[in-house]
Amino acid sequence: MNKTLLLATALAVAILAGCGGPSSSSATASEAPTGEGELKGDLEVMAFEGGYGIDMFQKAAAEFQELHPDLKIKVSGNPRVWEQIRPRMVAGNPPDLMFPGWGMDHWALVAEDQLLPLDAALDTKVGDGTWRDTFDPNMLKLCQKDGKTYMLPYYIMVYGWWYDPAVFEKNGWTPPTTFSELLVLGEKMKAVGVAPMAFQGQYPYYMIEGMLFPWAQGIGGIQAIVDAQNLKPGAWNSPAFLKAAQMIDELNKKGFFLAGSTGMSHTESQTQFLNGKAAMVPCGSWIESEMKEVMPPGASVQYMPVPFSEGSGDPTALLIGVEPWMVPAAAKNPNAAVALYKHMTSLEKAKEFVRTKGTLMTIKGSDQVELPRVLQKPAETVRNAKVVYANLVRQWYPEMWKEFEGGITSMLNGEITPQQFVDRCESAAEKARQNKNLVKYEMSL
């Protein structure tokens, strides 16, 4: 018969199978955990095993176990851990502490009341202040809804553009800081047969995060981004977004993009960049760990902030991303979960993670270590940023986001104009506004 339907159903049945029993036990967790007091019992941690692995989490857990012999901590993880977490959430039998990774719809978990607000824990004393004070406040804000903190950030992904310093030096190029500089430099690159930019066409969010958002911000200021993410009518086809789309279109028409980029996956386009076919590529700060296997000898990557779009916006504003940790509402040992996470996010442990894994962390002062060369510029950019913001709508409203992605691809394929693209974004936003079943979120600065 129809194997898909069977699969879908089997999945659904498997998910629901566990619902009978202890799903209502979340009531016991209603008193907010603080991570203080006696710690004992089982503590299960499930973590996404991405480019940074889970070994550091296991190490932290082992240390914590030493300090608290009455605890029995188990840390497990894999690259698609969200697939295991999902049915356990439905069954009401989740782990106590989790880092479900990019495949999990975090905000839907919030909407389903599946996560514990952690503000009581954040207000506990750590050192001279509170635990809350140890995090970068901007990044904590990315984890809140209606004033409550449902998730806690760990490492930061810094978005921007990447280039190979050796290639730039050889050709006498300097990273462009403004759009005008980019236009001039790009012609020089084309003259020596190098495409100025590659992009990850199969995953259009790279371009939206690496050009559209920063350029709209540069033109209209951060308010343009706030209004758009808050679905204010007319925000997605505002002059700021239109101008940003026109800038992308201009680069496209001038032949700045590596031919065929619309059909490329992230690894394909990044490989083309590393092989010198393109001079720059938009990406997040994970690029080095993602590409190290295929890095040609002698090649290296270096960060540059997105060239400023020369409007009334803030040239230091920075788009970042966080992948948060969380404590499920039905966790059986939430207090120990919070305590362990406090340990993991202590300044000392955060510095250790920065040193070992080569990523920036959301913990204040954690960049005060000997940073790997690839992180120095991103760290400086984060420090200098007067405003940091994140792309939240991608997770908040995935259906609307899909329209944006389709629209920008069609614009890059020359099938629609920048005006049509932003109008399409606005009509997708209108559809989201009208959808009364869609849980709405709000971004604040």
Partner: protein
């Protein structure tokens, strides 16, 4: 007495199969229909009954219509090529010559390769800097080079090429077996009457392959309508949904958008389409033309 013993005997043999079928096929199917009447994010046990809302949404869903259209296009593009190619190769691989033996040993190769490997391989081939464009350039056909997987007009046909490559071996096997099944006397009689080559194929072989054709077409429809991995890995349904198929859309709704209830309604929609097409094929092939004349 003898009759009752026989009935009990039959029931005792059928019962386990029927029970398993009911528990693992029929019951989940019923449940699927049930799930499709809820709004459910698939992240908690909380489910909101919404009656026929998911089906109303499906009926108006442009993305689903696009996906269905692409499935049908894929069926038309890949299906015709597969049947024609399979019939041709099935004729060629008959006989005991070294070429035939060699062909017989390799035509099933793509079938034993994992779909993921197939998709990645064809992604490399269709990469703008890939094998396909390189071949065109080598032939001096630079003007024909394309961003095969990134251009609206070419993404779906490119996927169809990969699908043909992957699937054709199975249909060669079916048709080769069908050709073997044509009685030797028939072929000899045809030859005595002076029918050979194209004439014999059109008037004898084509008709005698009736049951094989029915199996092949039914299987092809199910196969194409349930395509997922190839599209998901080669194009992710892009650019701008131009290669979206029903199952990639279903995946998006379930696992990206957390709309499990709606995704289940899509699965039911897919089921209805595949069932409808299968019934249509059974109707078209309802009578064996050879038997009818006999």
């Amino acid at each position: 007495m003898r009759g009752r013993g026989r009935t009990a005997f039959i029931i005792s043999f059928l019962a386990p199969a029927v029970l398993f079928y009911a528990a693992f096929v029929l019951w989940p199917l019923v449940q699927a229909f049930q799930f499709s009447t809820f709004r459910w994010r698939g992240l908690s046990a909380r489910m909101t009954p919404v009656g026929g809302d998911n089906y109303r949404q499906l009926w108006e869903d442009q993305a689903f219509a696009t996906a269905l259209k692409n499935n049908l296009l894929l069926l038309a593009e890949a299906g015709v090529v597969i049947i024609a190619l399979a019939l041709m190769v099935a004729h060629v691989v008959r006989g005991q010559g070294p070429v035939q033996k060699f062909l017989r040993s390799i035509y099933l190769f793509p079938q034993v390769v994992s779909m993921v490997v197939v998709a990645v391989m064809w992604q490399f081939i269709f990469n703008p800097q890939g094998l396909f464009n390189a071949g065109l350039r080598a032939l001096g056909l630079d003007a024909l080079t394309r961003t095969w997987l990134g251009e609206s007009a070419w993404a779906l046909p490119s996927v169809a090429v990969a699908f043909v490559w992957y699937a054709v071996g199975f249909y060669i096997m079916l048709f080769a077996a069908g050709l073997e099944g044509i009685p030797q006397e028939v072929n000899e009689a045809a030859e005595l009457d002076g029918s050979k080559g194209w004439h014999r194929f059109c008037h004898i072989t084509w008709h005698l392959l009736w049951s094989v054709k029915r199996v092949a077409v039914t299987y092809l429809v199910i196969n194409v309508m349930n395509t997922f991995a190839l599209v998901y890995l080669m194009t992710r349904g892009g650019p701008d949904r131009r290669s979206e198929v029903m199952l990639t859309y279903l995946y998006e709704q379930a696992f990206v958008n957390s709309n499990f209830g709606y995704a289940t309604a899509l699965a039911v929609g897919n089921f209805v389409v595949v069932m409808g097409l299968s019934l249509l094929i059974l109707f078209l092939f309802r009578r064996n033309p050879v038997e009818a004349r006999a």
